[in-house]
Symmetry: C2
Subunit: 66 residues, 2 copies
DNA sequence: TCTATTTGTAAAGTTTGTTTTACTTTTGAA
DNA sequence: TTCAAAAGTAAAACAAACTTTACAAATAGA
């Protein structure tokens, strides 16, 4: 699964630390998600989408094999 | 977090086992998610939404405190 | 270039998701 | 009412998410 968190952060001028504190996770979690090291829970995905005023599908997308 | 998986299954006339095999998880996982015993990963949420031709936000919703 | 901020990364530890097996309860149709 | 299918549940084991601490690399502005 890929994601556009980095782009959304840029649009909203937020650092990884900003985003992390706003949704209540560690900065390393945001970094790991952004770098596709692991897949976040649905609660996190919903919170991130909400914060960026968009949808989960707009931020996270399945790849071919998934 | 709550979800409308049971309703969507009814609309699409699918059992928990049907849904589980279509998205590649165990039947118990679907049951546990449906009964709010745990929060699924974003990949699962995306797959479920896709299967039901709708969005993650239409199936999973954050509650007040989240 | 110097410095502060941001990002990337890593390891250890805790928590939570997911599977497997297996059994009980509910539901619905014959 | 009976029987089969579906749903609920539980425990053990394993996998993955997430935290914490800590440090190195990259970036950007003065």
């Amino acid at each position: 699964m890929k994601n556009s968190i980095k782009v959304q952060r840029a649009i909203h001028d937020m650092t990884q630390a900003d985003l992390a504190s706003k949704i209540g996770v560690s900065r390393q979690s945001i970094n790991a998600i952004e770098k596709n090291k692991y897949v976040p829970s649905t609660v996190l995905a919903l919170k991130i989408a909400k914060l960026f005023n968009t949808t989960v599908e707009d931020i996270f997308f399945l790849e071919e094999n998934e």
